[in-house]
């Protein structure tokens, strides 16, 4: 372990965990309301980022307007996906539903390539990349003070992601629709019997997930560039969801931050072969979670005979 660099890498990892947490939140949103694990979330995120790029760079709208429009379009995309692809799947076996979202991811991948092409693009900088924050900690290693340098855009992406998380949590806690969605997540039939419109709730949660996905996409694109691999980067969020627990919003946040942090810590290792494992850390963590505690840190424990 490289103690001089560890705080730096841990801090960067934690910051990178912010957008991962936001992605995980989008997946949890859909799962909570409709028990569908959305494998196409990564591609919804990619679409959101691509639409923003197209409006801002190709069409030439101001950045704030293109972000607002892209969020609205992503909500529409989420709603359409629920209405056209997943509504007919109600009551179908798990395999069909999983394959539906996988097929959806392929359709969105194809559409992204067809409409926007596959080139690496310069995403407009939302947060300045210059003047990184420098924190001199009181700790020293080998008589040298530990300095943590944080890029401004990473810090502000993290802050924006956390703001998004707070907004969503407040929405669930304090609004009528949020209450209805929490109610529906308990039991679909029961919710219908007390007059909740379950299909409208599904639609709202998918639209919301689309918006959350687009937000995460814009944040990821502004800090790490925009190309089709963005959809694959998101696969790191699946372990975060399972780590936190599938139905838990605090779990999604904790899972995202833990995954980011553990990637950062592994990247600080001295040995080359340990550093090489950075990209599969989320999946090793996933296997450990599945073997020790399949319901995750904050998930509901289901008694299920295997």
């Amino acid at each position: 372990m490289n103690w001089q660099l560890l705080p730096q890498f841990a801090a960067s990892g934690l910051l990178a965990g912010g957008p991962i947490a936001l992605v995980a939140l989008g997946i949890v949103l859909v799962f909570k309301s409709s028990y569908i694990f959305n494998f196409a979330h990564g591609h919804m995120l990619l679409m959101g980022a691509l639409i923003t790029w197209w409006l801002a760079v190709e069409v030439g709208l101001p950045l704030w307007l293109s972000i607002v429009l892209a969020l609205a379009l992503s909500a529409l995309l989420g709603w359409l996906v629920e209405r056209l692809a997943l509504r007919p799947m109600t009551g179908q076996p798990l395999l069909s539903i999983i394959l539906m979202t996988l097929g959806l991811s392929q359709v969105l991948q194809g559409l992204a390539l067809l409409l926007f092409g596959g080139a690496q693009r310069n995403f407009p900088q939302i947060f300045s990349a210059a003047d990184p924050y420098k924190i001199v900690t009181p700790f020293t290693v080998d008589d040298r003070p530990i300095v943590i340098i944080l890029k401004q855009n990473l810090v502000w992406s993290f802050v924006a992601a956390m703001l998004g998380v707070i907004v969503i949590s407040a929405f669930f806690r304090f609004t009528r629709t949020g209450l209805a969605m929490r109610g529906a997540s308990e039991d679909h039939e029961l919710a219908q019997s007390i007059g909740l419109r379950i299909h409208r709730i599904f639609g709202v949660s998918w639209a919301l997930a689309g918006t959350v996905a687009a937000t995460a996409g814009i944040l990821l694109a502004t800090s790490s560039g925009l190309d089709l691999s963005l959809a694959v980067v998101v696969l790191a969020a699946f372990p975060a969801v399972l780590l936190g627990g599938l139905e838990s919003i605090p779990g999604a946040i904790a899972g995202g931050l833990i995954i980011g942090l553990s990637q950062g810590v592994v990247a600080a290792a001295k040995a080359q072969w340990v550093r090489d494992t950075t990209e599969i850390v989320p999946y090793v963590a996933l296997l450990i979670v599945l073997l020790i505690r399949p319901e995750g840190l904050f998930g509901q424990k289901r008694i299920e005979r295997i």
């Binding site: 539906m100 392929q106 991948q109 194809g110 409409l115 399972l242 990209e279 599945l290």
Partner: protein, 353 residues
Amino acid sequence: MAVLRPAGEFDTSYARDMATVRQPWQWAALFGFIAALYLLPVYASSSTVALINRIGISIIAVQGLNLLTGLTGQISLGQAAFMMTGGYLSALLVGRLGWSFVAALPIAALSTGAIGLIFGLPSLRVKGFYLVMATLAAQFILPWFFRNAFPEILGGAQGIVVQPPVVLGVEFNEPARYLYLTLSALIVSTLLAYNLSRSRLGRAFVSIRDNDLAAELLGVNLFKHKLQAFFLAAVFAGIAGVLSAHNLRHINSETFDVTDSIFLLGMLVVGGLGSNLGPIFGAVVVELLTEAATLFGPFFVGIFPSAAGGVQALRPLFFGVTLMLFLIFEPRGLAHRWQIFKAAWRLRPFSHT
């Protein structure tokens, strides 16, 4: 659907009752079809032969997945990773150790099965969606291993150049010759898969899929059978991977990615889950869709100027749309349609029920 037999045809022995091919004309049709496939290089273009090669390899991989997902009901997103494992193992055995292809193929396939067992272990603890995640982990951990471990042997990110296989002194170095390897492997794997599915083991698999609790009460050892299904699926994937690596003459950690695993699952669903014809129908349809994507690619690039090379965009688009349409309108796949068609034909002129 009940088995429909023509009036007046009675089984007079158990062997006849079990028979798959029942009529002389069915034997003739079967051998005629196989002969037509083997003679393909005589009358078909080399691109068609190459296509049939790809279809054959896909069918073998999907047959393995059918044993695991179709019969046993354990969803796997890691089949492509096991293909990669088989390809790498054979490349090492033939290329680095100088084994003959005939010896390397079964050893590579069985070793892939052993790797499959490791990633099947979570099925002891979890099922359904959680198992999908565990197999997805295989799809990331195995390629990472081949990319980063022992770079002097496994070639790092560049991968390995694979020699064309030599069997009995004949070098299978062009699609027209390679076809004979693919077809022979395909015939063996089809026989194996078909007979497994109607054996005691296959029935145990189906009982686990339909109700695991009831299966366990009937004395089916769940863990053992799930692991057997994982092993068999990985062996089939290994065979397909070996054939694919020697066909492409090159393998690296990006040859089989998560998209390929999704495609294999999609082939299975389009063809028909749990049916023996399913993998064949599905692989043929999906590979033909890829051909259609290549054909229509330039046309679409003309309409959407920013599109990156037509086929990369159209392949996932065609596949995804086909898969979604099948899931909504015919979740039992083409094999089920084929059953309906056969029943309608036998009952003609009466409508089938």
